[in-house]
């Protein structure tokens, strides 16, 4: 640390530095823990399918390292840069989703991936869209101004771009969970930005009522054959035992894993459910294996790590230099919080099964890569407008 930044640090109460180390530490901890759990969870299936127990681990490590490099790089870019290219970021997000239509790769019956030419990797446009929407909405909300935000129009206008992306993700990539996450991110940002509570409580109540009505409709549907797979998932959610051989299989096996873990679990690497009972456990269901191997203690420890992460985010947002920076961080908070909650809710069968990954821990290259770039943005916000302020300080 240079002497000048030491002076800066002293003057502005220790907030500024090269990076928010406690945040970096929490992220590195989650990543390392994720890799250990990923290896434990995937090695059996990996060996069976790829003849290499570390197949998934190796791939994830490459993306993690690339993501960390990206994080450092992004953290060095002043976050105001994102404001300037926010419209472009949004356009790129839409463009990538549209590219799915002609060039999408079909995996497990859904077109969600774009094949990157030459490189042996695939990109999930949904992950790009999440950043795009955060960057764009922060700018949009800032531009609207405080007055507009207290009106209904001020709420609806910023929601439109998010809903557009959501609908596209849902209809083009058949990925309802990503659509929900994108909309929820902007909803969270607006909740913070708008001064009132009324319309948010109203919307929450409406969403709950509509969801309850849909569930009621599904359950009372005369002909269960007419239901699509989401309808069946709802039925499986309500009574996973009855659908244990089909749609409820993954859920019930995950519950078995959680229930058999006990307080301290079976020990790292000792899961039985990962031995072919929970298919692709390293993806959405990794939390159930954590519960089985490390027990309630391990599971709650991980949730506490996420709480710590969100607390650090909150601190950074609240001490951000400006509204735009704070909004970026709020977007990232919403994103990570929604994914963690949805993931754990699915694993514990609190909500119907929908594919959401656990940030930093689940297997998925695009997911970890773009999450780390989001962390980079947050770090950039935490560093603040260092150079400009330095100049000001030197002037004075």
């Amino acid at each position: 640390m240079s002497s000048i930044s030491a002076i800066v640090k002293e003057k502005i109460g220790g907030r500024r530095g090269l990076a928010d180390y406690s945040l970096v530490f929490i992220v590195l901890f989650l990543l390392s823990f994720g890799l250990v759990m990923l290896y434990s969870t995937s090695s059996y299936e990996s060996m069976a399918q790829h003849g290499d127990a570390a197949y998934y681990l190796k791939r994830q490590m490459i993306f993690t390292l690339l993501g960390l490099a990206l994080m450092v790089f992004v953290s060095l870019i002043p976050y105001t840069f994102w404001k300037r290219i926010s419209l472009l970021a949004y356009a790129v997000s839409l463009g990538l989703i549209l590219l799915i239509i002609p060039f999408g790769m079909e995996v497990n019956g859904a077109k969600r991936w774009l094949k990157i030419p030459i490189l042996p990797i695939q990109l999930q446009p949904a992950e790009v869209a999440k950043i795009g929407v955060i960057v764009f909405s922060a700018m949009f909300i800032e531009k609207l101004g405080r007055k507009a935000l207290s009106t209904v129009r001020g709420f609806i206008l910023p929601m439109i771009p998010a809903v557009v992306v959501g609908v596209m993700l849902w209809k083009i990539t058949d990925n309802l969970s990503s659509a929900i996450i994108v909309v929820a991110i902007v909803f969270g940002m607006l909740f913070v930005a708008c001064p009132d509570y009324g319309k948010f409580i109203l919307i929450a109540v409406v969403v709950l009522v509509v969801a309850a009505a849909l569930v009621w409709y599904t359950v009372n549907s005369a002909d269960t054959n007419s239901l699509d797979f989401r309808g069946e998932r709802v039925l499986a959610w309500l009574d996973p035992q009855a659908y244990a051989g089909g749609k409820g299989y993954q859920t019930i096996q995950a519950l078995y894993a959680i229930g058999s873990g006990g307080i301290f679990g079976k020990g790292l690497g000792q899961s039985m459910q990962k031995l072919g009972f929970i298919p692709e456990a390293q993806n959405d269901m990794i939390f159930s294996i954590i519960c089985e191997e490390l027990g309630l203690f391990g599971a709650i420890s991980i949730m506490l790590m996420f709480v710590l992460l969100l607390w650090r985010f909150m601190m950074i947002a609240n001490s951000a230099d400006d509204f735009y920076g704070a909004m970026l961080v709020v977007g990232v908070i919403s994103h990570i919080a929604v994914q963690v909650i949805l993931n754990i809710a699915v694993v514990t069968n609190t909500i119907p099964n929908t594919g959401v990954t656990l940030p930093f821990i689940s297997y998925g290259g695009s997911s970890v890569f773009f999450l780390l770039s989001e962390i980079g943005i947050v770090l950039s916000v935490s560093r603040g407008m260092q150079r400009e302020e330095l100049a000001r300080l030197e002037e004075s």
């Binding site: 078995y256 009972f277 919080a337």
Partner: protein, 677 residues
């Protein structure tokens, strides 16, 4: 917490500051998130509390504990020189997993190609896979050899490597798309010499259960203990894998000599071929059997009986052709199985005939021994003092007993005979006279001493026990008279051979045995079976007389066994001719009990011909010529040198057989000159 808000200027229409109220709302948002986390944490706790036990059980019950047996190797059977007669070879079963094969369309054809290359019918296996799409364990082929499996695996491995190098598209890969084939190891029993000593060895099929002979008698010794690979849960409920190595079975080393055995089988076969379809369609005889035994230890050197069968294919019906048809009581009839009979044989009949084929005539079947029993009758008289060696008997051709006229072979009568002459000429009347002098009590007592009717204790499966001799109280005079020359009581070949050995070796009754040693899989000796004297039957004096008399059977002027004498040797023996039941069918079992050398008996060769395929069956020559041929080859093999000069005719015969003249005496100088050495 020190909060520092950098104050920005509020531009018109836009926001610059993240206000205190926004900060509060962010705290609220984070509070809501925390609340959700707490809710989910409670849910986790509830799942564990309410369903923990049930789910733990469920997880455990879902575990398919790998519990796999690992086969052991069944022990070998070797002859006295170490020649392997029965062995177990590592082989593989080809297992097909339909589910895996049907996972992708690209798998099926390459996998079918691979299965076809392993020798599996393509159409049939395709049908199985399509009809049983969820089957994961189907034995498509058994007993694939180690070499064939290795060749297959090497080919596939090379193919996959080549495809990777040439970057063949995944869907077009011929080798890489072979799925759902795996191999399960096991052992298969092989008999390198197919029908050699087939009845002695017996056979063992899948499941390592021996049928007949040594395989059955020593089943437990030959079998090992299966190994096991299994998973179990330890006290902390984690899966542990354990393997218990299999323990291979022990080996048998026999007293049997494969060379002697093959000589014996050669001549039995020769006899069989000679009379095959001769008088009627069918084999040369119902049975042509032989036991070669060490006189001084009871060790079996060879044992065989026609018809033979291939131990590698014991159920091959082809071996049944020419065997007599069986009546409802499994007794042989006068008609014989033809090739067409085999084709239409019912499933009920097949096991009956196969059991007859597999039955060891030498130990499992009994018959009236005929005149080979005469030396026993004589020995009984000499031993009990009821017959004096200098006594004479008069034969006028028949004797009336109990109102029956019991004839001698020589209807004209043999005249006045000494004991030795009675044996030499096989005179029934003299023997009846002797038995009468002995009395029923002595006679039956010695039948027991000679072990007739009882098991000898030979270590082979299914030894027959006949119990045909009667006590002195129930015995009639005619029974005593006919028993004296070996009719009206049953004995097995092994009973006769073991008893006869004791008559000529000084009275030592050895328990006959086939196994000399039991060795561990690594070859160390676990147990040696020493010759075991069961009893003393007769005195050395009696034994010497019997030897004297039986040598006269071969060498005497009126001897019945002259044709048994091999060139260059002096041997002793006794012929036997017994009419089978029912009497009057002109069906006979003829035999010759020979031993050599005459002065110091070493080996006993007993040949029985059961109903030769010839018009006049009552001719012991059928048996004597076989004994002669066997001895001619076996004696030099056992390093027993000739003691007699050979005639020119015999010399020519020996040369034809490739046998050397080992006579070194000088009794016949004219023959000396012709020696070439």
């Amino acid at each position: 917490m020190s909060k520092r808000v950098v104050k920005g200027k509020n531009t018109r229409g836009g926001l610059k500051r993240f206000t205190i109220s926004m900060q509060r709302k962010l705290v609220v948002l984070c509070g809501l998130v925390l609340l959700a986390f707490v809710g989910l944490g409670i849910k986790l706790f509830l799942i564990n509390r309410d369903n923990g036990q049930a789910y733990t059980m469920q997880v455990l019950s879902q575990q398919a504990y790998e519990n796999q047996t690992i086969p052991y190797k069944r022990g070998k059977i070797m002859d006295c020189k170490g020649t392997v007669l029965a062995d177990s070879q590592l082989v593989y079963n080809v297992i097909v997993d339909s589910k895996q094969i049907l996972e992708k369309d690209a798998y099926l054809e390459p996998t079918l190609d691979a299965l076809e290359s392993l020798g599996i019918n393509r159409g049939r296996i395709r049908e199985y896979i399509t009809n049983h799409p969820s089957s994961q364990y189907y034995i498509a082929l058994k007993n694939l050899s180690y070499q064939d499996r290795k060749a297959y695996l090497d080919k596939v491995e090379a193919g996959i490597k080549m495809e990777k190098e040439k970057k063949v598209a995944p869907a077009d890969r011929k080798y890489d798309n072979i799925k759902g084939i795996w191999f399960e190891s096991g052992y298969s029993r092989i008999y390198p010499h197919s029908d050699l000593a087939c009845h002695v060895i017996g056979f063992s099929g899948s499941g390592n259960v021996g049928t007949g002979g040594l395989e059955e008698y020593y089943n437990e010794t030959l079998n090992g203990v299966v190994g096991r690979r299994y998973g179990y849960l330890d006290e902390s409920l984690s899966m542990e894998q354990t393997m218990i190595e299999p323990k291979d079975g022990n080996n048998l080393v026999l007293t049997l000599d494969a060379n002697i055995q093959s000589i014996v089988q050669k001549y039995l076969k020769k006899h069989d071929d000679e009379y095959d379809n001769f008088d009627h369609p069918g084999n040369g005889s119902n049975h042509a059997a032989c036991i070669v035994m060490d006189v001084h230890s009871g060790e079996i050197l060879a044992m065989a009986g026609t018809p033979f069968f291939d131990l590698n294919q014991p159920s091959d019906l082809a071996a049944l052709e020419g065997m007599p048809k069986l009546d409802a009581n499994d007794e042989p009839m006068d008609s014989y199985l033809t090739y067409t009979d085999l084709l239409v044989m019912s499933d009920e009949d097949k096991p009956r005939y196969l059991n007859a084929l597999w039955s060891n005539f030498c130990v499992s079947q009994y018959f009236e021994p005929g005149s080979t029993a005469k030396p026993f009758t004589v020995a009984t008289g000499l031993e009990t003092g009821t017959v004096d060696k200098d006594e004479t008997f008069y034969c006028n051709g028949y004797k009336y007993i109990d109102g029956f006229e019991i004839k001698c072979h020589n209807r004209e009568g043999d005249g006045l005979l000494t004991v030795g002459q009675a044996v030499e000429r096989s005179c029934n009347v003299s023997l009846m006279e002797m038995a009468m002098s002995e009395g029923k009590e002595n006679f039956t007592k010695f039948q027991n001493v000679f072990n007739f009717g009882l098991r000898t204790g030979i270590d082979l499966a299914d030894e027959a026990r006949t119990d045909s001799f009667v006590s002195d109280s129930t015995m009639t005079d005619s029974m005593l008279a006919t028993n004296a020359f070996g009719q009206n009581f049953d004995a097995t070949m092994i009973q006769m051979a073991a008893g006869f050995c004791s008559l000529i070796n000084g009275g030592y009754y050895y328990e006959p045995h086939v196994v000399k040693k039991i060795t561990s899989p690594s070859g160390t000796t676990l147990r040696t079976i020493e010759p075991r004297v069961l009893k003393k039957t007769v005195s050395e004096e009696t034994s010497e007389l019997i030897r004297e008399y039986t040598v006269q059977v071969v060498e005497g002027r009126y001897g019945t066994g002259e044709t048994a004498r091999p060139a260059g040797y002096r041997i002793g023996g006794k012929t036997g001719t017994a009419e089978t039941l029912p009497r009057g069918n002109d069906e006979y079992i003829v035999s010759f009990m020979g031993y050599a050398p005459a002065e110091d008996p070493q080996i006993l060769v007993y040949v029985v011909i059961d109903r030769a395929n010839f018009e006049n069956q009552d001719d012991a020559t059928f048996a004597t010529v076989v004994v002669r041929s066997i001895m001619q080859e076996v004696l030099p093999y056992l390093n027993i040198y000739m003691s007699e000069p050979v005639t020119d005719e015999e010399r020519a015969e020996l040369e034809e057989l490739g046998l050397a003249v080992t006579y070194t005496g000088d009794e016949s100088p004219d023959k000396w000159e012709k020696q070439t050495w």
